[in-house]
């Protein structure tokens, strides 16, 4: 058959296939490129005398611009990230999974469509707008409700991140529930189970991997969020002891300080190293989520 085709179409076909394959693999290339170029800017500091990797990971002293004693400890920032993410997940996991169950099992037709659209719109709100809301709406609200002097704290950012993470958890969680075969539901219905009994006894155990993946993706989203936490956490470097303490996260530190750090200075390079740290954390979280989902498919 190929003989009857013109030379162009044979070679054209080959060329296009090559192009498509290259585009397909571009994602791998980009992930490596991100790691490489961020690491390339940050790496020279690893060899410098004033920097110790142990201090970077375990010290809570973050004084990157100090004249006498520069210290680059990111533990306080990491704790900030973890506490904000923790508070966010405490809110987002029950509400997100609850909403996923409600949308997938307890409502039908128009209501379901409308709720799905609302959740999708919730996901579309840009993080800078969330940050703005944190600054202008949540800040005075928290001050008034809890009688605390500053409303820019872990709680504020946690609530914002929860609202941002919920759409992720709802959509992935709903997919997981949808993936449970209908025969399971029919079997349980035939035995006289109510929808709640089906959900609790049949669907949750059957979909638990997918739901866990949904939670993990929500965590990944919360860890990587930048602008909202930059504006809502209050920006003081400390290990927070309560939800009303201000803190600072890894992402916010990069966004706030990269503009001031002169190019090539130790401070600048350390900010890129923080980028690598963040990249590693989110990579592990996403990888775990993927493995968990793949586990369910194999079964």
């Amino acid at each position: 058959m190929t003989g009857s085709r013109s030379k162009f179409s044979t070679y054209g076909e080959k060329a296009i296939e090559l192009l498509i394959r290259m585009c397909g693999m571009s994602a791998i290339f980009f992930v490596f490129a991100i790691f490489f170029f961020v690491f390339r800017e940050g790496a020279p500091i690893l060899a410098s005398k004033e920097f110790g990797l142990g201090e970077f990971l375990t010290s809570t002293d973050w004084y990157p611009t100090s004249m006498s004693n520069v210290r680059f400890g990111t533990l306080a920032l990491l704790m900030g990230t973890l506490s904000v993410t923790g508070v966010a997940m405490l809110i987002a996991v029950p509400f997100g999974l609850g909403a996923a169950i409600f949308i997938s099992e307890f409502c039908t037709g128009k209501l379901r469509e409308i709720l799905k659209i609302i959740i999708e719109l919730l996901a579309a709100i840009p993080s800078i707008v969330w940050g703005f809301i944190g600054l202008t709406v949540m800040n005075p609200l928290i001050q008034k409700v809890f009688h605390v002097p500053v409303g820019l704290n872990v709680l504020n950012a946690g609530i914002l991140l929860a609202l941002m993470g919920i759409p992720v958890i709802v959509s992935v969680g709903e997919d997981a529930l949808k993936a449970v075969p209908d025969s399971y539901r029919e079997g349980a219905l035939a035995l006289g189970a109510t929808r709640w009994q089906i959900t609790w006894r049949v669907l949750l155990p059957a979909a638990k991997n997918g739901l866990l993946a949904a939670v993990l993706l929500g965590v990944g989203r919360a860890v990587g969020e930048t602008m909202a936490v930059l504006m809502a956490t209050g920006h003081s470097v400390q290990v927070p002891h309560s939800v009303f303490d201000s803190c600072r996260t890894l992402t916010a530190t990069i966004a706030a300080e990269l503009g001031e750090a002169s190019e090539g200075s130790p401070h600048y390079r350390v900010l890129f190293l923080i980028g690598i740290l963040l990249f590693t954390i989110t990579f592990i979280v996403n990888l775990t989520a993927d493995l968990v989902v793949k586990g369910i498919r194999k079964k």
């Binding site: 296939e17 585009c23 579309a124 707008v129 609202l163 109510t194 009994q197 992402t251 963040l278 990249f279």
Partner: protein, 305 residues
Amino acid sequence: MSTPADTQLVAQFGETLFTRKKKRSERIAQCVFAVMVACIIIPLVLIIGYLVKEGYSLISWKFLTTNPTNGMRSGGIWSALLGTFWLVGVSLCISAPIGVLAAVYLNEYAKNNWFNRVVNLAVVNLAGVPSIVHGLFGVGAFVLFAHMGHSILAASLTLAIMTMPVIIASTKEALAAVPRQFREACWNVGATRWQTIWRIVLPNSISGILTGVILQVSRTAGETAPILFTGAVFYRRIEEGNLFAYNITDQCMALSTHLFAVKTQVTNAPEALSFAIALVLLALVVFVNLSAILFRSWLRSRKKW
């Protein structure tokens, strides 16, 4: 008065304690879940309502089409609005073709083996990389390594790579919705793989792909962190009314970074101004998103197969 026969009937067919308990727990569960959903939606509605109420007064055609004045304390948002359009447009030109072809590869060419699992994993991870790390990557790769400097091009490239997973995911879904028989029929009359894709698969999924592109537009328009250090500038005056007032090598303002600057860096900026900027950005993103959703549901309703 119930006869003994009635009592017997009730015992046989009426509600037992067990069923009553079952029904009660069902009702409780339903209420709890409904309240949870309400807890998500009500704050959203309240917040958007508040933004509209505070920002609405400033918004006018003049606000959209004049430059900021008086150290960004008054005037409009023209240079930021146009900057956002430029960033979205340029990044779309880069990411849409690559993203669609990547999805074609994953759906049409890729066999189910470990390598393509890695490709899929890379797509997921690309979507999961924090936006600020994308920004760092943009600085390292485009601004410094490729010597593009702080420019619309560098910022758009960063945004393009960041939002590519959106378009890959939705295109893959659209391609997978085309029935396999369509392809088989085409192969049977002697078409090559690419001819099948070009003449059959893509035309049949073009609307789904377009939906993905629209969603990507909304995502790109709202991003802040990736452009903060790659091409966004604090203030820039451009010619009003000229859509081509920016050049691809220029730095530009963007709505998202403008909102950030006005709220956190400009002292004594009127409250209503930042609310108005937030409202414009929100309206833009929600409008684009909503049109994608409506477009998609319209498509589903008239699906031919």
